[in-house]
């Protein structure tokens, strides 16, 4: 038994190009130009899926983006896509499609037992049942329900499709290529403006494609031909305008014709936007209106005129408006017997005359009482005084038309109700936005074309010069008339009368929501799930809103609408992420020494965006093994480490010293040339921003280093002060972070290492004392040697242009080879500084004050510096602030862990504790675990016993609070 057939009538399918495809394991044929849905209908397939909640058999309801039922899973293996809208999916050779929501098969679906349970599965069922007195009941039921529910299924494999994001610009964006959109595009193109015409279908033309009119087809082709010849016009088929955002940003999603596996998201900036998005037909609500074979009347016309697919013998049309007669007449002209059930009592003479001519019987003042048949409808019973039963293949329904106002709504403009057409139209258009055609409630074809032309002229300056527009030679538009019918279900059948097909929401559910007090449209939506899902209520919203308004005794204009949000139609999440996934999620920053590290056995670790050498395989295979050996190398001999990621800023100008003196808490005004100084800077609020070493190279030139983490922030901060506030200071700052590289040469033998590397330079303690800086040329390359130490050992930093950093590094390694110099990585570097008690990124949580870090004494008493005032506000001076302490493990073999929560020995181990460990390491000098921590009251508690709790591993380790300076407290090694 099949309800549809393909006839010979010429249409938009290409009969010379047959293609085969698969549906639920069987092969079928269709033609180029078919959609998946039209090809399935032509093959007599009307049962395509099961519904979401009750697993009722479902077929195709529409012929476009509004489709709520006929969703299929397409593709195979790793590349399947759930919820493909079969009515918009272009038929491609070899396409594989499967029905959804049916188990074990479409024809015999065990879950259809839910239909019998429908009395208890009404709206709010889940909330009521699983949120009951048993607190955990939802957790128990959820996995079972999730499995039984849901549309389609996501694929667990890595997505193999390709996604791109692109950014474009235009003068006029026209959304929709129906009569209004085509007219707007041609007029705009004639002005020479940069025009983009967007069409979600794979053909331009919109409603013209469904018209069956030769004259309109000629006109359509002429317009497209003119557009194709216009050099400034981009024509985008298979492209959906998903959202309109501030400042005329349109987000488009498109699939290029030649690359079906590629999805592009385009961010298009348009000077003006013309919305010619058309209108969507509404279903009528009556018993069993969801049976396969019950379709939108306009969809029947589309299948006939665009795809040559017609109901086999007889169609019944049920309507409350004039538009359905186009379908009735076209079907009758193609030898389908047609009967019309007409809700209205009177009709225009023209319609009656034409119907009589074509032998169409019209039953006035009646609708549909019930639909007969289950997996495929077989007939209808009329309501009202006619109450006859008519056998038929299909039922075409039309409850009127809803303008596609979605995109105007994205900008926050509420739709408004128009009584005349019984529909919501845009409440207005934003500045530089225009509407044309059915979106405005203008349902006539010639009127739409005129509006399209007018919208383009309004959107463009100088539009008078544009050539007049050619209208197609068709008769004037028929007047449109409608009598709203929101609920045509008989009371006893309300639970089978579907309002939202995709979410199985019936008239009964809406009445239930009203009964329970969910009056507002937003509550109605959440309570019943109406308007959710892939179709977002394109066919259901207005009927439901009207029913609720009726129940509340309000006019529809006062009931309000839900807010439409992007995307307009379903979008693959991958298409939004585009290329920003995996390794491309964020950029990687590489040191100029990166390749050397790779070639010499480094294991890397991410530090912010930087890839840093973590440890080297000369020292061990695991970080635990390696960092201890690398630390020992530095403490006992000499090691070299890459510090290129440090922020490096060149500060120049006659006021440079004054500038630095203002931003650092300690004095820089009198720093002598050839000397470096450790400095700390605060934010305005008195909280520590960053620390680092700044050297005076000449009287007016300084070389600042910052922490790796704060390099960008400090640079912006300096620029902000200089450009927006201290414009009187003669200072310029330049970031050298990427231009210069650096290395730390550390350990008791570091001086000897540098003397071997630069035998002609005087690096004695006298020539280059602690915190001294020298600059020289080595083989023509400018080199800066700064004597400073992060590890607490005698140490130097050697900086030069990034171009020569690797050469210089290799030179030092080679020259000092006989000493046993080797590279050490970030783990050892960090461990060494913890032993020395130097704070770093992990300890600085952007809440510390100078005093919290034990650095209060650094600040100048008599000088002004940023943050000085607010540093002394009450909160920052509170006695119980979390401040820096050292911690020593008191349990042999027990590990201290970063993030461990600290408690006093007598505390109950519960809650947030008195502080936490910020950095931790094994100390090779002390032979125990040591840590830096922030602790309530800080060093006031020095010597007290504490517990380091790590609940994730159920550990409570005994430890003691000590000074954060674990080694060489007098600094003898530094000054050696």
């Amino acid at each position: 038994m099949t309800a549809f057939k393909r006839i010979d009538k010429p249409s938009h399918i290409n009969r010379t190009k047959q293609i085969s495809f698969q549906f639920d394991g069987k092969m079928f044929n269709g033609f180029v130009g078919d959609t998946l849905a039209s090809a399935l209908l032509a093959n007599g397939k009307t049962l395509l899926g099961r519904s979401f909640k009750y697993h009722r058999p479902r077929g195709i309801i529409g012929a476009g983006i509004e489709e709520s039922n006929a969703l299929l899973t397409t593709g195979s293996d790793g590349r399947t896509e759930p919820n493909t809208i079969s009515t918009t999916a272009e038929l491609k050779s070899g396409i594989t499609a499967k029905s959804q929501n049916a188990w074990p098969s479409l024809n015999f679906d065990l879950m259809a037992v839910n239909q019998l349970l429908s009395p208890i599965f009404g709206a709010g069922f889940y909330y009521k049942t699983f949120m009951g007195p048993l607190k955990k009941s939802w957790m128990m039921y959820e996995p079972i329900i999730r499995k039984a529910a849901g549309l389609g299924a996501a694929v667990p494999d890595v997505d193999s499709a390709r996604y791109e994001m692109r950014y474009m610009f235009c003068d006029v964006l026209i959304i929709g290529s129906g009569p209004a959109g085509l007219a707007a595009a041609v007029t705009a193109a004639r002005s020479g403006a940069r025009v983009v015409l967007v069409e979600q279908d794979f053909e331009f033309g919109g409603s013209i494609l469904s018209s069956g009119s030769e004259e309109l087809e000629r006109w359509r082709k002429a317009q497209i031909a003119e557009l194709e010849k216009s050099p400034e016009v981009r024509l985008l088929k298979r492209t959906t305008a998903q959202g309109i955002y501030d400042q005329n940003l349109a987000v488009l999603s498109l699939t290029p014709e030649n690359h079906p596996a590629l999805k592009i998201t385009e961010q298009l900036r348009a000077r003006t936007i013309i919305m010619a998005t058309g209108a969507i037909e509404r279903p009528l609500v009556f018993a069993n209106n969801d049976r396969p074979g019950v379709m939108l009347a306009s969809a029947l016309r589309t299948y006939l005129n665009r795809f040559s697919v017609v109901p086999k013998k007889r169609a019944v049309i049920v309507t409350n408006n004039d538009s359905a007669y186009s379908t009735a007449f076209d079907l009758a002209e193609n030898d389908v017997a047609v009967t019309v059930a007409e809700h209205r009592g009177t009709l225009s003479g023209n319609l009656l005359a034409r119907a009589a001519q074509l032998g169409i019987a019209i039953f006035p003042n009646c609708g549909i009482a019930d639909v007969i048949g289950e997996k495929q409808m077989r007939g209808v019973r009329l309501s009202g005084r006619h109450a006859v039963t008519i056998e038929c293949d299909v039922l075409g329904m039309s409850g009127g038309w809803s303008p596609a106002v979605h995109l105007t709504s994205h900008g926050g403009i509420k739709p408004k109700y128009n009584e005349q057409i019984a529909a919501f139209i845009p409440g207005g258009f934003a500045k530089s936005h225009f509407g044309a055609g059915a979106i405005n409630g203008t349902f006539g074809l010639l009127a739409a074309i005129r509006e399209g032309d007018a919208a383009a002229r309004a959107a463009l300056p100088d539009s008078k010069k544009i050539k007049e527009f050619d209208l197609p030679a068709v008769r004037e538009d028929r007047k449109y008339s409608i009598q709203p019918i929101w609920n045509a279900a008989e009371k006893s059948n309300e639970k089978y009368a579907f309002v939202d097909f995709q979410n199985d929401v019936t008239v009964k559910d809406i009445k239930g929501a009203h009964q329970e007090g969910y009056f507002s449209v937003e509550h109605l939506k959440r309570y019943t799930t109406l308007g959710m899902g892939t179709d977002q209520g394109k066919t259901s919203n207005v009927n439901a809103l009207a029913m609720m308004a009726d129940l509340r005794g309000l006019p529809l204009s006062q009931a309000g609408t839900t807010t439409f949000r992007p995307p307009y139609s379903p979008m693959t999440v991958g298409a939004i992420a585009a290329r920003s996934v995996g390794l491309r999620f964020k950029p990687k920053r590489l040191s100029p020494l990166h390749d050397w590290h790779v070639a010499h056995g480094a294991t890397f670790i991410e530090a912010g965006l930087w890839m840093r050498a973590w440890f080297y395989d000369w020292a061990g295979k695991t970080p635990e093994e390696a960092y201890i050996k690398e630390m020992e190398l530095v403490r006992q001999n000499v090691g070299i480490s890459d510090v290129s990621s440090l922020g490096k800023i060149d500060v120049q100008g006659s006021d440079a010293a004054e500038f630095l003196n203002r931003i650092y808490v300690n004095g820089f005004a009198k720093l002598p040339v050839g000397r470096a100084r450790y400095g700390v800077m605060l934010n305005d609020d008195g909280v520590v921003l960053d620390d680092g070493t700044t050297s005076r190279i000449t009287d007016t030139k300084f070389y600042m280093t910052t922490t790796t983490a704060q390099a960008g922030e400090v640079m912006s901060w300096l620029e902000y002060l200089l450009q927006m506030h201290w414009t009187d200071l003669n200072v310029h700052v330049t970031s050298l972070t990427d231009e210069w590289g650096g290395m730390a040469v550390s350990g008791p033998n570091s001086r000897r290492a540098l003397q071997l590397a630069f035998p002609e330079i005087d690096i004695t303690n006298e020539a280059l004392p602690y915190m001294g800086v020298i600059e020289f040329k080595f083989e023509g390359v400018e080199v800066r040697v700064l004597r400073l130490s992060f590890s607490g050992e005698l140490a130097y930093e050697v900086h030069c242009s990034a171009d020569y950093t690797t050469a210089l590094w290799e030179h030092i390694l080679k020259a000092a080879e006989l000493l046993g110099i080797k590279p050490y990585g970030l783990e050892a570097l960090a461990s060494l500084r913890i032993e020395k008690g130097h704070v770093a990124g992990a300890d600085l949580d952007h809440r510390n004050t100078l005093d919290d870090l034990g650095l209060g004494k650094m600040a100048g008493k008599d000088k002004a510096y940023i943050g000085k005032e607010l540093r002394f506000r009450e909160d920052c001076q509170a006695p119980e602030r979390w401040s820096l302490v050292g911690i020593e493990s008191m349990e042999e073999g027990a590990k201290l862990r970063g993030g461990a929560i600290l408690f006093a020995a007598t505390d109950e181990i519960k809650g947030h504790g008195r502080g936490y460990i910020t950095s931790v390491t094994w100390s090779t000098e002390l032979n125990k675990y040591i840590a830096l921590a922030l602790y309530n009251g800080g060093l006031k508690h020095e010597g007290e016993d504490i517990i380091c709790a790590f609940p994730l591993k159920n550990e409570n380790v005994k430890a003691r609070i000590v000074s954060p300076h674990f080694i060489d407290k007098q600094g003898e090694r530094l000054h050696a």
Binding site: D246, Q247, R662, D685, S716, Q723, H725, A864, E869, R873
Partner: protein, 81 residues
Amino acid sequence: MRIPCPHCGERDVAEFRYGGDASNVRPSHGSGDLKQWHDYKFIFDNPQGPHLEYWQHVYGCRQWFKLNRNTATNEIVGGER
């Protein structure tokens, strides 16, 4: 959002960083007045509508500037260097 950089012209917001409310006047350096600095740093209006704010063309010319942006519509009303 598109932001007009006074030096480079209109560019995508991704090239900029936001630098906070620009309607408060920064006290003079080293004023020593705690109340003044407190109000400057912590007391802001939260208007729906025009809002004077700092922006930096951080992935461009690195120019800082003031921008008058409507917080409700993202419309740029004006700017100053």
